[in-house]
Amino acid sequence: MNGQPVHDNARRSLVAVVLTAIAITVNHVFALGSAAYGLGAALIVVAVALLLWFRNSRSTIALTGYAAMSAWIALGFGVYKGLWKGVLRLFLGSGLAAVSNEYPNPPVGSFAFEASGILMFVGGLFVAYYGYRFVTSVWESRTGRPWRFGSSFALGATAAGLAIIAGYVLSARDVFTPPANGVVRIGVIAPTSGPYSILGTSFVKAVQMAQTDAKGTKYRYELLIEDSGPDPDKAVSHVRRVINDEKVDAVIGAVSLIGQVTQPFATRARIPHACVCTVKSIGDGGYNFTNIPSPEAEAERWVAEAQRRGIKSVGIIWQNYPSINNHVKAMKAEAQRKGLAVVYENRFVDTVRDFRPIISAGQAARPDVFYIEGLEPGLDILGQQLQDANVRNIASVVAPSVSEKPALFEGAWYTDSDLEDIGFKRRFEAQYPGVQFATHMMPYAYDSFRMIVEAYERGINPAVYLRGIREYAGTAGPITKAPGSGNFQSTPAVWVIQGGKPVLLDSQGGHTPVTIARSVKP
């Protein structure tokens, strides 16, 4: 090499490349796993090799290769991944979301991930600076003339930095775009086949009913109904088709397992995803929202009713399923808080068909009430075997309302949606005879469609509109949402199976079905 400045700058440049490569490796472990170590090693080995080649041969090709590699590290990893997707997302994105609903809450990773992103950005700056110094010092040593464009480069870099920040502020903002040809396309993703088909089918019908009810609107609202199937892995292709290929304007989804699949797709597409599901982490408040009574709200109401009935102990038999696990977890926590003893627990998998040993063990614990929760077909088999074992003291959250044979649970009480507008259910049953009305989902599916329609009719980006909702007159009572939250909250009510049918109890525990309380027109 020629001269001390070239040596010094080459050494500093290489140090910057190595340190940045370490940050790049750590950052990419989260996405690539162990392959990230290969990436980091390749960056270091290639950089060292090019620099050695240049030192031994003074080859312009080696210098160009090293400069290109430094530029790739500085721009690709430093500016794009470190600054745009790291620092600006974390700091500017969070700040903008805090002051305006037009900006989504950015996803935040672990500290190691975020810190490595910051270090990747800062390291990229040093790679760019010392790479620049190295190349210009080579130029000076070869030409014997001083490099005179330093100020211009600094000015250009500053202007580029400001442009990137301005670009982020503009591009991260969700603005309203009138739908093409006046048609808003809404994807409805639910498992209408397999074990959740009863829930999925009635969910889809509720959205269709909302579509039918949306009359006299400025825009036309089309539904793209997609059967996700029950398997989350297989659902990926269905979700991709609806969101990426069909490019719908919004998604209404059902069932937590499928909602979890839809969540990242909706975020990437920057479209709202209203999910009638209980796994609250799906509702990130950016583009994804859950709309159903929370497990905690169900638990609070359930334990209050248990105490009102003088129940002191409970035995729990439940199916291993995300939303059910969350119900049980919340119920146990609330029971512990209120001094209700859990004397028996058994979580079963969906393949169990012989519940008799489980029921016998539960009876031996002599609980005041059995809390049971499951999905079909196991639910009704469990109901039948409980009946055969002469177990009548049954309670639940939601489950009897999704049973195909609710008579099996005669006398059982449970919490479910506070369906004040019973006319909604009657209209549904008249419109779709033979389709089961899943009380805990239908009103929220209906309301989710209404919310999206209201956003478009008011000329507001639907994701922005959903973020801004604090109170909403829902079909199943008031719905609320805390600022920044992605979880719409509502209070459930107590129901009982009487004469083989669900009957909504009033707040005094009487048996008075609640009559129409409000209009449900969108």
Binding site: L90, V108, F111, A115, I118, P232, S256, L257, Q260
Partner: protein, 43 residues
């Protein structure tokens, strides 16, 4: 102290500040996040 050293020190200080800020944001985000039962499906 030459200009380069000042710039380097400024960036190192800014980096430490950003790391501290990230620590606070990650902590706040974690405490506000819903704590669901681990689910069958995860990314």
């Amino acid at each position: 102290m030459n200009k380069t050293r000042v710039v380097v020190i400024a960036w190192v200080s800014l980096t430490i500040l950003m790391l501290a800020g990230a620590y606070v944001i990650v902590g706040k985000n974690r405490s506000a996040a819903p704590t669901d039962e681990p689910t069958v499906y995860s990314h």
